[in-house]
Amino acid sequence: MPGFFKSSIGRKVAMALSAFFLMFFLLQHLAINILSVFSPETFNEVSHFMGTNPVVQFALQPVLIFAVVFHFVMGFILELKNSKANGVSYAKNNGAANSTWFSRNMIYSGITILAFIVLHFIDFWFPEINTKFIQGDWSGMLDGVDGFRYHEELKHKFVNPIRVGAYVIAFVFLGLHLAHGFTSAFQSMGGTVGRKKAAQNIGKAYSIIIPAGFIFIALYHHFNH
């Protein structure tokens, strides 16, 4: 078992496992955020639960951070190793003839997503940490008085059209990343034998629905401000 994760396939599996976690995270993140469009109250309640529940905060959140960091670091390591395996590069290489652009350029969609995560942290996560851990305010109340702050903060972030634009672009790249990543993760886990078509179709749906959902939320709040 210890040797397994040192092998090339073991690393693929590790990438896939972290990807599964991240994809599950995206799904629940979207499910919660979409509430902000339909029912600000429910959104606030669920957000408060997620923001204050100790299991989420002290168990799942560290795992998530670890998964994100691991997925990126491992992705870079593998990219470096793979480019070393290539040797001299071709004078002419027609990659489009046999594979999709996004499958060959996961590193670039990945870097774009990484840049987005930095922005996202600045936007949401750091203020959250500041409010909860530095100021010690766990109430979730807007200015400590009238109602939950989460929905209000969310809406506020989507005022700036540049930020909304950046979000939209990032989500397009996320879609491209998922368009390959979803099926790829199942393939790496050996789960696609004889079910490749199904995996591809689900992957396609997933990679469209998730980013489209987030883009919809961003645009909705931008235009309904």
Binding site: M1, G3, F4, S7, S8, I9, G10, R11, K12, V13, L78, K81, N82, S83, K84, A85, N86, G87, V88, S89, Y90, A91, K92, N93, N94, G95, A97, N98, S99, T100, S103, R104, M106, H180, T183, S184, Q187, S188, M189, G190, G191, T192, V193, G194, K196
Partner: protein, 246 residues
């Protein structure tokens, strides 16, 4: 038709190589690609120049010896064929064709378009067999019935010709389609079960040792494979390795 060829020339494994331009004329569209190369070489020999070295042998798409990267694709633009089966009708008069060796750090160039694929052999040495003596004293062939579907799938995997197009095509120079095919062939057959765990572990370890890259599932290998070996074989190998390790 008349063509311009841009061909990688490299004296030996220690020298630096470069692309060199050649012209060939009156090429028939019925020629195979290698016959076109024969024409070029005959032309070079008669002019007192060194012909272009390239690997080839059976010229019917089964030995796996021929190995050119033509216009940016392993075995050229046609599907389901090796270079020797690629015909000039795939090209047009006046075309410029770029011809390079299969490239990967694990496939060093020997000369011009000839590369060293012995890494594939070493992977096979590490476990690409069933340990049975060739005494002939085995049980009757029909005493192990094998479901037709399993036998057919094993055959589909076993049809790999070991040409290395998968590695050459892969952006990561990964050999997983090749290794996956062999692992799958035996994993699908009852005869292969006894050693299945050790086989997959040893073959993957050797593959890594040879310096092949990691599969990122782009699927390019499956498209360029002259024998249409399925990506399923990689998935099956992944599963086999997990099963063997956990």
């Amino acid at each position: 038709m008349n063509l311009t060829l841009k061909i990688w020339r490299q004296k030996d494994s220690n020298s630096k190589g470069q692309m060199v331009d050649y012209k060939v004329t009156e090429i028939s569209e019925h020629m195979s690609f290698l016959e076109m190369m024969d024409v070029l070489n005959e032309q070079l020999v008669n002019a007192g120049e060194e012909p272009v070295a390239f690997d080839h042998d059976c010229r019917e798409g089964i030995c796996g010896m021929c190995s050119m990267y033509i216009n940016g694709e392993a075995h050229g633009p046609d599907r389901g064929v090796t270079t020797c089966q690629l015909h000039m009708r795939m090209f047009k008069d006046g075309d410029t064709i770029t011809i390079e060796p299969f490239r990967a750090a694990a496939f060093p160039v020997i000369k011009d378009l000839v590369v060293d694929r012995s890494a594939f052999d070493r992977i096979q040495h590490s476990g690409g067999y069933i340990s049975v003596n060739t005494s002939g004293n085995t049980q009757d062939a029909n005493s192990i019935p094998i479901a037709k579907q399993a036998a057919d799938q094993a055959m589909d995997a076993a049809t790999c010709i070991g040409c290395g197009a998968c590695v050459a095509t892969c952006k990561n120079s990964s050999a997983m389609l090749f290794v996956g095919a062999k692992v799958s062939q035996y994993a699908l057959l009852p005869q292969g079960q006894v050693e299945a765990a050790d086989r997959v572990k040893n073959m993957v370890a050797q593959m890594d040792l040879e310096g092949f890259g990691n599969c990122t599932n782009t699927g390019a290998c499956e498209v360029e494979c002259p024998k249409g070996i399925s990506l399923d074989n990689i998935a099956r190998m992944n599963r086999e390795l997990m099963k063997a390790s956990i």
